[in-house]
């Protein structure tokens, strides 16, 4: 690709992996036009469209809503559509697939493990007894809604998993987003499923694996604060334990 001399450029070093040819990933460099208003995703789309059609990556909304463009930008988990080139220019930018996930191809990672974890915490409203539809909806006050609202903002972008060293060292750890979503339903006034979720959430793959590094909450683009969700779940579980210890004949809720 010829560049006009007046047009400044920026270099992207992208981790590439082709499962049919490569035994291990390798870096490939691309010079792309530097535009003030471009984000890393724009640069990657430019490469894909103009320079190298074999580059594979996920994206959809380009506005931090769909959660599909998570990647490591200079070692930090970011949404590609929210990381501006101007924040790195004139230095080159190193782009890698989300850390801690198996690489399927180039920037595309395997999400099956996360999907299974997410399902295992049953992130939906569980009732002891469903009430018939004719009886209408379950009502909720604004104050009750506020309790879990932040935890419900998750877009499953998985930046938090890429930022959490425990998810790398303990691959079975449920991880930040799954626990935040469990907590989101536990705190929902319409839900009665906490005890069922506890079997997974406070198990050996659950909250107690967390050592509170806290980076999940720092990288989260939606301010979900999964680290907070996990610590609050730990506190609640500890209270359960004390309740059962001090009041064994009736402490269970």
């Amino acid at each position: 690709m010829a560049n006009k001399t007046s047009q400044p450029t920026i270099r992207l070093e992208i981790l590439r992996y082709d499962p049919e040819k490569d035994s291990a990933p390798r870096y490939q460099s691309y010079e792309v036009p530097f535009q003030e208003e471009w984000v890393v995703l724009d640069a990657i789309n430019h490469i894909k469209d103009q320079i190298d059609g074999t580059l594979t990556h996920r994206w959809s909304c380009r506005m931090g809503v769909c959660g599909s463009c998570g990647m490591m930008v200079n070692g930090v988990a970011k949404l590609g559509c929210s990381a501006f080139l101007r924040d790195y220019y004139p230095n080159p930018i190193r782009v890698e697939p989300l850390a801690h996930f198996p690489i399927i191809r180039d920037l595309v990672v395997q999400l099956d493990g996360f999907m299974a974890k997410l399902q295992s915490v049953q992130p939906w409203i569980i009732r002891k007894e469903e009430k018939p539809v004719e009886q209408g909806e379950y009502l909720q006050s604004p104050a009750q809604h506020a309790r879990y609202k932040d935890f419900s903002m998750c877009i499953n972008c998985l930046l938090c998993y890429a930022a959490c060293p425990v998810t790398e060292l303990e691959p079975h750890f449920l991880g930040p987003a799954a626990i935040a979503l469990a907590q989101r339903y536990n705190l929902d006034s319409r839900d009665e499923g906490r005890e069922i979720r506890q079997e997974t959430v406070s198990s050996h793959i659950g909250i107690w694996q967390c050592t509170l590094v806290g980076e999940c909450s720092v990288v989260c683009p939606k301010h979900v604060d999964p680290a907070g969700a996990i610590q609050q779940a730990k506190l609640a579980s500890t209270m359960d334990w004390y309740k059962e210890l001090l009041w064994p004949w009736g402490g269970k809720r």
């Binding site: 499962p19 990933p25 198996p102 506020a146 790398e168 680290a227 609050q232």
Partner: protein, 127 residues
């Protein structure tokens, strides 16, 4: 076609400042434990009589012992302050639709710290 699993990097905590800070916070426990052991030895020496205690005090004046105490103090401060700051993560206190601001949960920690330190200082120095 097998997905590629990247190897675990042993030095992950050196790659970024927040991870290093986390490791230092965890590592501070070693110094606090060592300090507690020294403290327990001191109590043992006191129980063994004045001569034993005086000898123990003399040992504490060695440059190495002073250096250890300075480093242990710094780690204790890091440990205490970073955990105080994290209190609001674990405690969500609500007033109607609003969450009580984090500072309102952090400040009481510091107040308790100052008051308790004052009491200890009063007992040790004056009482």
């Amino acid at each position: 076609m097998k997905p590629y699993v990247r190897p675990i990097s042993a030095g992950w905590w050196l790659h970024r400042m927040p991870y290093l800070r986390f490791m230092l916070r965890e590592f501070s426990a070693v110094f606090i434990a060592a300090y507690v052991i020294i403290f327990l030895v001191m109590i043992l020496r006191i129980s063994q009589g004045q001569a034993a205690y005086e000898a123990f005090r003399a040992d504490l004046q060695s440059p190495l012992a002073i250096l250890f105490h300075v480093v242990a103090l710094l780690f204790a401060l890091l440990h205490t302050i970073s955990w105080f700051q994290l209190t609001p993560k674990a405690m969500a206190v609500w007033k109607g639709e609003e969450r009580v601001p984090p500072a309102m949960l952090i400040i009481p920690n510091y107040v308790a710290w100052v008051v308790l330190s004052g009491v200890v200082a009063w007992i040790v120095l004056g009482g």
